[in-house]
């Protein structure tokens, strides 16, 4: 799981103008033909930089995203739910491993990426800066946050960078269990007691705003990323991804008899687009810049894990094996 929005900063096209025009034309022609770019290929610095940023954020989101659900493993209702949630959390961390490897092929070491995460330099999906108060919050994450992630990941799997696409294909195959498990949990709450239904409704009310933020700022206010779309780094606009998610999942939420806390939410059948109350982008910016309910706690957990594991890494480290950049 992860969030696909706001992964790009303003693009400085000056750096593209300084690239070798012949190499650049061949690079763009390769993408135009639908071929993948591989680590040993020539690529513009801007392409490399933005891909590292995007894949690294995705990897961080996987390990940070495992935290709110991870806290529910011991409290999940019943042995079967505990097993499933444990397997799901293990998957998320495994996804981070695959993604860090893909980013490493672009020249940034895993150690640098982890350092940048715990020092607050790199971002991760904003939605994981919110707390999972109840079991129903955990179910919301498993079903709907993962659903949003799948929308993004399926699009990005058609991108241009070979190692990232191959990692995403594997991840998407594993996500099908997460989505089915999450839906299963929510169906059980929806068809359960009045208290269970109320629990999920309250979770939905808490998580709807972060869910709308999940896909990133509205196109009208987000940075221009035309060149990144041309290079198939970014595969759809934030609003397109959000609309696709609403199209697929609002009917399923309504089907279960839950209400969505936005009286303006409706599909415009003429445009085929969903209309909704404009999300509070100031809150989005505030949280992504560190002032959310759980930012400090999330990073503190990672920092502690890094510190506590240091002696193990040092004890195991040997000159037998050497760190080098992965091949593919």
């Amino acid at each position: 799981m992860y969030g696909g929005g706001n992964t790009f900063e303003g693009v400085k096209l000056d750096s593209v103008a300084q690239e070798d025009p012949i190499q650049l034309a061949a690079f763009e022609a390769r993408i135009e033909r639908g071929e993948k770019i591989e680590p040993a290929d020539w690529m513009p610095q801007l392409y490399r930089k933005q891909l590292i940023r995007m894949i690294e954020q995705h990897a961080h989101s996987e390990i940070i995203g495992a935290l709110p659900e991870g806290t529910w493993i011991t409290r999940a209702p019943g042995f079967k739910r505990k097993l499933a949630l444990m397997a799901k959390v293990q998957d998320e961390v495994g996804h981070a491993q695959l993604l860090y490897s893909a980013a490493e092929t672009l020249g940034k070491s895993r150690e640098q990426m982890i350092d940048d995460l715990i020092n607050g330099k790199s971002k991760y999906s904003n939605i994981f800066n919110y707390p999972a108060f109840t079991w129903a919050d955990s179910c919301f994450i498993s079903w709907l946050v993962d659903a949003g992630a799948i929308v993004n990941q399926l699009a990005n799997a058609k991108g241009s960078y070979g190692p990232y696409c191959r990692a995403l294909e594997r991840i998407c195959a594993e996500e099908s269990f997460h989505l089915k498990y999450g839906h299963h949990c929510v169906v059980y709450l929806a068809t359960g007691t009045v208290t269970q239904r109320r629990m999920f409704q309250e979770a939905l009310n808490r998580w709807w705003a972060p869910m709308m933020h999940f896909f990133g700022p509205a196109d009208k206010i987000s940075v221009h990323t035309e060149i990144l779309m041309k290079w198939k780094v970014k595969m759809g606009t934030n609003d397109d991804m959000r609309n696709q998610f609403l199209d697929m999942y609002v009917p399923k939420i309504w089907e279960l008899g839950f209400t969505i806390p936005d009286s303006n939410l409706k599909k415009n059948n003429e445009t085929g687009r969903w209309e909704y109350t404009e999300p509070d982008w100031e809150e989005f910016k505030r949280v992504i810049n560190g002032d959310g309910p759980c930012n400090k706690e999330r990073l503190a957990v990672r920092r502690t894990a890094e510190e506590r594991g240091r002696w193990v890494r040092q004890a195991l480290k040997s000159p037998e094996a050497e760190y080098v950049m992965p091949l593919a």
Binding site: R310, Q314, L316, E320, V324
Partner: protein, 180 residues
């Protein structure tokens, strides 16, 4: 640097099928790389076996742009009379895909192995890139690793098919339709 070594991982999906490159793991040694590879790449999908090799032990050919085979971009070297050892050869059959095991050759060193492979396992084949790895540098699955692999079938809870909520949902929807 607080960072373990890099190892390339190859998976054999079924008996008789070739090994295919799947990705990398970081580990302090070959044996631990094998264990981590099992967790990372076969945790959710069964496979017949896997093998790992340290990345710095992979000899890589030039990459072809498609006009000629990668073998045609190699500098030819001749045998010098040194003893021959075994090398595993992997081909990249298509851009964007993974390297696939093409065969084993006997050669003096990795570069010589590629030249031998050009005449044998690579003869007449279009390949975009070739990897050669000394067989002795690879940790393969051993018969005694069997128990290590047999845990997946009992973990149905890792499978999407284990989550059937359809009947419950159908009853709920029918009841709600009648009520409304």
């Amino acid at each position: 640097m607080d960072q373990f070594g890099t190892f390339e991982v190859f998976v054999q999906p079924k008996e008789g099928k070739p090994f295919q490159h799947e990705g990398i793991v970081h580990a302090p040694n070959l044996e631990m790389a094998y264990v981590l590879a099992k967790e990372t790449f076969t945790r959710r999908f069964t496979c017949f076996s896997l093998c790992v090799a340290e990345t710095r032990n992979v000899f890589v050919s030039p990459v072809s742009e498609g006009q000629v085979s990668a073998y045609d971009l190699l500098t030819t070297v001749q045998a010098t009379g040194k003893p021959l050892t075994s090398f595993e050869i992997f081909h990249l059959p298509k851009r964007g895909k993974q390297h696939v095991h093409a065969g084993t050759v006997q050669a003096e060193d990795a570069q010589h192995a590629m030249c031998v492979a050009k005449q044998t396992v690579g003869a007449g084949k279009m390949t975009y890139n070739v990897w050669a790895i000394a067989t002795t540098a690879i940790r393969f699955t051993r018969p005694e690793d069997g128990d290590f692999w047999s845990t997946l079938p009992e973990k149905k809870f890792r499978d999407a098919a284990d989550y059937k909520g359809g009947d419950k949902l159908k009853k709920f929807l029918e009841k709600n339709t009648v009520t409304s």
